[in-house]
Symmetry: C2
């Protein structure tokens, strides 16, 4: 299983205009990330999952999870955005840590980023993508690694301390700052190369 | 200069619904490619260009070019799509190989894929991304390389023969078939790593 966590500090947590994702707290960038985590040319990555923690207004936090093994009826970024909107509408009354299935392979929970990474750290090696981290090409990666990305704003200092306490390993992909969606494509490429020789 | 050519066999060449890019011949995928060619977190790649050859209905071919060094006022995929639509509207009367400036850093020409790669081959090393090619990590890349991508449909056999005649080098990025936009992110990553050490 290849698993990703994206934290999106501004992405809306209440219904938004499906034709204006940029002004929904850069949900366009969130949809790019989900696409690159789960889709390849003509197929889904059945062995991949992504969790996106939305922390923008008006009802944060919300964690929406997409599972490539179960996903159906999603073909492009617009259909991803439509499902996120539907999930936000249906989840308005969730209590803390309660989870709701939205679609095959899509669920939403009233769960914070901190709670999510604490939960995941119990059985997974956390990998935090960071400019100052160790080069991914020189890093051994466990089968149960989960890759954690901040968004274009960056990760709050307090969160970085939590990740340190949870023994998240910092790795780097590039000498320059990329979009999270570009990072996800590069991580997948590294994992693909390790499992199937070119 | 880092330069890319994308051939999009179905992308519309007449005005389209800006809120339905998938049904405009997968212009959503074209916009993903332009984003990954030219944008990084918080900045433009000033040393990158991408040319997209659109060959869908109703007025093919059209080659639209984006130059990261001159681009202004483009912030997200929707604004890229709006500019493509504007370019298609303004270029309806162009004669063969005539070119029109649309915006700082954006131009459109009535030019075919074949003509474009023939023109570029005079002063550039053509690199054709192909599953059976040589691993990019083991390939020397010239400063003047241009990276050529087919779309999700694949490159017609006749075009592959032309690329062979123009001595395009075939290189491979991944053991699996990826979206062109994902390939562009991976090519940039390889070039970034070669110019600045991690």
């Amino acid at each position: 299983m290849k698993e990703f966590i994206l934290r999106s500090l501004k992405a809306k947590t209440s219904p938004f205009d499906i034709n204006d994702l940029k002004n929904a707290g850069r949900l366009d960038l969130v949809c790019n990330c989900i696409t690159n985590a789960l889709f390849i040319a003509g197929d889904l990555r059945r062995d991949a999952k992504i969790h996106v923690v939305l922390e923008g207004p008006n009802n944060p936090p919300k964690t929406i999870s997409f599972d490539g093994n179960k996903l159906k009826g999603i073909e492009d970024e617009k259909s991803i955005a439509i499902k996120i909107n539907e999930a936000l509408i249906k989840s308005s009354g969730l209590t803390l840590n309660e989870e709701l299935d939205i679609n095959p392979g899509i669920s939403i929970a009233k769960k914070s980023f901190e709670q999510l990474v604490k939960d995941k750290s119990k059985s997974n090696q956390l990998i935090y993508l960071h400019k100052e981290g160790k080069d991914i090409r020189k890093t051994h990666l466990e089968e149960n690694s989960i890759f954690i990305f901040g968004d274009y704003i960056g990760m709050p200092r307090k969160t970085e301390k939590l990740l340190d306490r949870l023994k998240a390993q910092r790795i780097s992909l590039s000498p320059i700052m990329l979009f999270s969606s570009q990072c996800i494509a590069i991580v997948h490429n590294e994992l693909d190369r390790r499992s199937i020789k070119l």
